[in-house]
Structure formats: C-alpha cells, structure tokens
Amino acid sequence: MGAGALAAFLAQRTVKAAFVILGVVVFQFVLIRLAPGDPASVIAGQSGAADPLFMAQLREQFGLDRPLWEQLLIYLRDILTLDLGFSHRQQRTVASLIGERLPATLLLTGAAFAFALIGGVALGVAASRRVGRPADSAITVIALTFYATPIFWVGLLLVLVFSVWLEWLPSFGMFTVGADLTGLAHALDVAKHLILPALTLGLFFLAIYARLARASMLEVADQDFVRTARAKGVPEGRIVRVHVLRNALLPVITFAGIQAGQLVGGSILVETVFAWPGIGRLAFEALLARDYAVLLGVFFCTAVMVVVFNLVTDLLYAVVDPRVEVA
C-alpha cells in the first residue's frame, strides 16, 4: 500500500463522510421537530405559570417563530462553520456545554472500553486454551451472566455491595465535591469514583469480547497454518500470540470499532445511576426539555465519531492482517 493510495482512500472516504454527516444532521433536525411540544412549553410546564405574552417572548427568543426551513438553513450555515449553536434555555453555547461534559464521558467510556477489551480478550483466550475444562465452563458461564443481566441491575448490585455494605467506594458522583483535592490525591479520588460506573458499563462488553475472542480463537486454532506451525516446532506461546491471536482479532476489532464510535455518546443508564456528569445525560435531558440545539450538537459529535472510528477500523484491518487492503 503506497502513500498515494492511502491519501486517495482517505480523501474519498472524507468526502463520503461529509455527506453522511450532513444527511444525519438534516434527518435529525426534522426528526426531533416531530416530537410534540417545544422548549417554551417545557419551560412553562416546569414553571407552573405562563401567559400568552410569556410564550410568545420565549418562542421569539429561541428563534422558534421563524419557519422551519429557515431554522434549518440557519442551523446548517452555523454547522458548516463548526458553530454548534446556542442553548437559550441554559444561556450557554452548545460547544461549551458539550466540552464541559466530554472529559467525564471519555474517562468513563474509555475506562470501560479498555477494561472490556483487554479483560474480554484475555478471558476469551484463556477459555479457548482450556476448552471443555472447568475453567472454560466457568468463564463461559460468567460471561453469559453479565451478557444477560440488565446493566442498571448490575450497577445497583455493585452499589449495594461496595458502597452500602462494604463502604469501600462512593455510590455516586465523579469526585468529592468541596474537598478541593489536587494532583495525585484528586486523580485517586476520581479513580475511586470511576470504578463502579466503569465496571457496570464494561462488564456487558467484557462478556461480548470474551465470547467473540473464544469462538474466534477456536476457529483459527483448527486451521492448517496453525497445524503447520506446530509441526515446525514453533513454541506453543508463540503460536497462540502470533499465529492464532492475530488472526482471531479481526472480529474483535470490528466490534471494538463499532463500540468506540459510541464512546462519545456516553451511556444514559450508567450516567444516571451513578450521577456521572456525562454526555448521555446531557442529551437525554435535552431531549426531554426539547433543547434542540444541544441535542443536535450531541448527535453531530456522535456522528462524526462514528464515521472517524469506522475509518480507523478499516485502517486497523490492514495493519493486523496484511492481506486486507484499503480501498
């Protein structure tokens, strides 16, 4: 694969991606307007008081008095200059609202992702090496349990055990507010708060990776080139690492690519149960409040991330398996 081919590939994909994102934005814009009610009615509902002047003032302030196509054009014009708009409800720019939540989101989803991927592949490999034996059965049963258990239930159980009974870990929040910790103490404090939500979010995916890795390892281990390597006297550890694992990773990478694209979207459930200040909740609350600009901003960021990670996944295939070419 030459540098020229790669550049052409990237250029072509970027153009395609731009159209996909544009389509997503327009589609979402229209879609959320189909939901009944608007931000003015939510504010009236939450204030328990309104008069016709108040409603008209709000709709004018939010720009909702203009025709829908005009609102769409304004939004598209802004988005092309990477201006995500303004939340009139919260009197903040959407970029700052998202930017404020992004670190917390990436920390949580990133930690859960790393835990699930590394732990899952390790468990899957371990199980495949002991296929049919008690260790394999144990891993398979544990993975199935986590796969089948609703995520909020796992969260509540973890809280019950580690926060209420053992009192080891805090049950909610991202750090000890008001303690004003800095440096290492702050990092440790955040880590303590991170463990339960990251475990809750990660366990489900850990189960998926473990099952994927185990099945894929077993399939590859049966193939001729592995038998050949073994016949040549290649040490078993090297066979597993180089010959089997590398080939078995392709389906894992495919799934990891899909999951990675969703990292920015956060997780509404886990963020809600653990009061984690992430983007999932921001989007969910924006949906309920009909805070259109915020919701579209989150959709836009998520769409961009999905497109980027699809591209990265395609490139990774080529790295892991030289037979795959980018095209």
């Binding site: 009615s41 939450q46 917390a104 209420v164 009061a275």
Partner: protein, 535 residues
C-alpha cells in the same frame, strides 16, 4: 383577625409587620431547641432536576427558586401563616386608603459584586425587570401606578387601586431584587451575566459544573452581621431517585427536598433516628392536585357526571397509600393552608354507591362489560408516583362503570396537549401562591380560557364564579373578601369543574443536627442565613 388561620394582609397586620418579627425569631430559636447557632460547615444536599439557569424571574422552575432563593432576596419573606416578615425591607407601612406602600430598606445591603443595593435596584427590579420577564409577577405589578425613591433607603409604590394581597408578591420566589447596574438597558433574557447570578443573598454562586453540582459560598459582605452560619451549600445533581435515597441513607448528603425522595421511600427515612422528616414549608405554594376535565367533551360537560367521578375517588387512600401521609386530601378548590379556605364548603365525599346512582339517573346504564362511559386520561409525566395515581384512578372509576384509557406522554407533549385543549382528562397540580386571587382564580374564570397551560384549560364557564372572583380581586377589605371566597368555594364544590385530589406537600428530610431548616412558609426556598449544624 378573628380566625387564627387567617392573618389579614391588610393595613393592621402590615403596620404590625415589623413588630411581629422579633416574636417569630423566638419561634425560630425554639425550633433550634435552645442551641446557640454555630458558625461553620458545608451543607451537602441535592437538587432535582438541575435548574437550567439561576436568574430568578427569567427562570421560575421549582429547583431554580430553591437555589436562587439563597442567592437573591425579596423585600419580605413569609411566615408559615403567610404574614410578611422583614427581609430586604426593614419595615413598611400602608396608607389608610390601601394604595401607597412605603418600604424602608435594611442598612448595608451589598450585592455579591460589592456594589450597594439601593432603592434604585428595588424600583428597577419591580417596575422593569420582573414586568418584562416574569409572567406571574407581571399580572400584579402592572397595578403599580408609580414607583418613587425619595432617598436611597426608601421605596414608595402607589397602586392604581387598592390590592389586598399586594405584599405577597415581594417574596423572593416572586420578585427577587436584581442588580440594576448589570441589567438596566440590556436584553434581560440574553444578558451575558445570566450565567453568573449576582444577588444580595447570604450565599453567592461559587462554582457550577453542569450535571454535577452547584456550589454556593458564604457572601462575606452579607447585611446581617455574623451570618450566614454555613460556610457554603453544595447542591449535587443526582438524576436517579434510588441513588438519591442511597446518598441520604449513607450520609453523603445531609438534606433532601422537593421531589428528591419518592413518597414511598419516606416511611423508611421516618424510621431512621438521626433524620427528621418535615412536610411543612410549602404553605405559600400549597400545590393542589386535581383531575383536569375538558368541559368541551361529552359527558364531561355535565356536572352530574363530574360529581359521580368525584364520588368514585377515595382521596384518603391517595393521601395515605400513594403519598404515605405527605400532604392531605383536598376538600375544596382553595387549599386549607392558604387564607380564605372555607372548611364548610366540601366537595363530594367518597361514595361509589352514590356515584352509580347519579350515573343511573343520567341514563348511563352499564353495558355487558359493566361499562357506562369511556374516557381518556393523559398521565402526568412527573415521575413514578403520578403513574401510580393514574392507575389508581383508572381502577376507582372502573368500579363505578367509567372505563379509563391511560395515555402516556413526556413533559413537552403534556404541556402542549394541555395548552391546546387536546385531552379529555388529565392530572394537574397548580400552586396557590397564598391567595385565591393570585393562584386559584386563573383556573376557573372564563376570561382566562386560553390556549396556554395553567389557565382555565378545562373551559369552565360560570358567570357567577367570574363575578365573585372579580369582586374579591378588587375588594380592599379582607373580611369582605373572605365572604366572597366562601361563596365561590360553595359554587365550585357544587359544580365540580375539576375533581380535586390532594393538597400536596413535599418532604424535607434532613439530619437532626441541621437546625432552622423550615422556619417560613416557603421552607427550603428561604435564604438559609440562619441554618446551622449543631455540634
């Protein structure tokens, strides 16, 4: 003042306003059980849902009022019996004709940015800021003919005509004093200072991490020397109700309020020895819940049918089994916590047999399935307890042969359908604001039938009711208003335009060592300048 539950807001009481205050301070201290206030400590609590903004007037949602009530202040605060007490105004007097209100401000009132708060700020807030942004205050403030500041500590409002409940509007939840120097001449709703509220209250906004917490810190130049006692208040944003209950149980927060704890969790906390559960402090709001009925739809337009519905509902069951004793069953359209409640005007009692007899009399006979009529009910999307209420109502009405189809929606959808009259029945609750003219009239008078939520969306029309409310509004004498409101209550309970359910209250649960939590008729909305942790 013959009735002890009905302190008149008229001239006599008003002139006594300043004198009554020291007496109430003693009550505060009695609540503290003789413990001397101790300075220090940070109160960790919860706010649900997170307010979008903290500028009172621009945003008036419940959580905004709770947090904003620490940052801003009004001219007066209200006692549990809704008598005005000095806050930013040290004293006030009313002219004999009830038209001229003269307020004298406290000494050394300072905004959080260090600038003094003067009569100019008060006049700006009342005549410009709240007139422009605040739909609730607007209706009352437009009765002001002129506002003058003869000196920096005196404000004189002259009304176009006497208005008996006028002082109620000067509580912080309705008319917070905002800094003129930051807002005058700007677009109030889009003012860049809206992300950093500046008030005169005992606490200033120190830090707000969206979705995480709001941290308030002591205002060092607060006008009451030595106060507030707390170093700060941290409002955590915890969206899940079970996580909130857990935070209280494990002591991670020392207080919860409003909707934080679901009613069905309240008994559990009542049993915990270190916690106190208060249900008072909602007297100004006294939210009254009801089945809202669209009078444009048959057979809901028939008072007999509505009376049958009222007979079918066991309000004691709702109060005891759904709200676990937090709040009490409604008896009339004017809540018993507000002035002018008439205990002799009682809505139809729980009597399914009577309900069936009325429906029989209307010619609505049960069909083979026992159904006499079918109606739709839009659920109130405010949380679990409201879903349980709808389910109870469906069952109770089905008992007398009225089949109810439940419709679910979210807040935006609910408000829109309510405002556009696109419902048959729904659940609603509305704040009473301490006076029927301010909080009750709007639901029943035909001049307020509008395509806006919290107006007379039922479409109820009764010329006699219109006349009584209008007279009571303009009547300067409290006793005459009482007679008019008694009459209107009797008319309304006979007509049953809505089926009233509960006088709602919300539990404030706090550690017992936290003192002076509920001392006013606005409870957790008050400034908290006297709240402290006993050692």
């Amino acid at each position: 003042m013959t009735d002890p539950r009905s302190p008149a807001l008229g001239r006599r009481a008003v002139l006594a306003g300043a004198a009554a205050a020291p007496m109430l301070m003693t009550v505060d201290q009695a609540r503290a059980q003789g413990v001397a206030p101790r300075r220090g400590g940070v109160l960790n609590t919860i706010i649900t849902p997170e307010p979008p903004l903290l500028i009172l007037g621009v945003n008036n949602q419940g959580p905004t009022l709770i947090v904003g009530g620490k940052i801003y202040q009004g001219l007066v605060k209200l006692s549990p019996r809704l008598e005005p007490l000095p806050e930013l105004a040290r004293s006030w007097s009313v002219s004999p004709d009830g038209r001229v209100y003269t307020f004298t401000l406290q000494d050394n009132i300072t905004f959080h940015d260090g600038r003094p708060c003067t009569a100019e700020d008060v006049i700006f807030s009342v005549t410009k800021f709240h007139m422009e942004v605040n739909p609730r205050a607007r209706a009352i403030l437009e009765r002001i003919e002129k506002a003058e500041a003869p000196d920096p500590k005196t404000v004189v409002f002259t009304l176009k005509a006497p208005f008996e409940p006028f002082l109620l509007i000067f509580d912080v939840t309705a008319c917070a004093i905002v800094p003129k120097h930051l807002y005058d001449g700007t677009d109030y709703r889009n003012n860049p200072n809206n992300s950093t509220p500046i008030g005169t209250g005992p606490f200033r906004l120190a830090e707000w991490q969206r979705g995480n917490f709001i941290r308030l810190a002591r205002h060092e130049q607060y006008w009451k020397p030595g106060q507030p006692y707390l170093d700060g208040i941290i409002y955590r944003v915890v969206p899940d109700s079970q996580s909130r209950a857990l935070a209280l149980q494990t002591g991670q927060v020392q207080m919860t309020q409003f909707n934080d704890i679901e009613p069905f969790d309240v008994p559990r906390f009542q049993a915990m020895p270190n916690l106190a559960v208060a249900t008072d402090g909602w007297e100004l709001f006294s939210p009254l819940s009801w089945i809202e009925i669209n009078h444009r739809i048959k057979p809901l337009d028939d008072a007999r049918f509505r009376r049958a519905m009222a007979h079918a509902v066991d309000r004691n069951f709702i109060a005891q089994r759904l709200w676990f004793g937090v709040g009490r069953p409604a008896t009339s359209p004017i809540a018993s916590t507000t002035r002018f409640h008439d205990p002799t005007a009682r809505m139809p009692d729980f009597n399914p047999r009577e309900a069936a007899a009325i429906l029989d009399g209307m010619g609505l006979r049960p069909n083979a399935d026992g159904v006499r009529a079918s109606i739709k009910m839009m659920q109130l999307p405010y949380g679990e307890v409201w879903n349980r209420l709808s389910e109870y109502l469906r069952q109770a009405l089905r008992q007398v042969g009225i089949a109810v189809e439940l419709e679910s929606t979210d807040v935006a959808g609910w408000v829109r359908r309510l405002a556009n009259w696109e419902f048959e029945t729904t659940i609603n609750f509305v704040y009473q604001w301490g006076d029927p003219t301010l909080g009750v009239e709007r639901t029943y008078v035909s001049s307020n039938i509008k395509k806006v939520a919290f107006t007379n969306t039922a479409g109820y029309v009764n010329a006699e009711v219109d006349r009584l409310f209008a007279q009571a509004r303009d009547e300067p004498q409290a006793e005459k208003r009482r007679a008019l409101f008694s009459e209107v209550q009797k008319k309304l309970v006979a007509d049953v335009p809505l089926v009233w359910l509960m006088e709602l209250a919300f539990p404030t649960i706090h550690e017992k060592r936290l003192r002076n939590v509920i001392t006013t008729g606005t409870g957790v909305h008050a400034s908290f300048d006297d709240v402290f942790f006993a050692s």
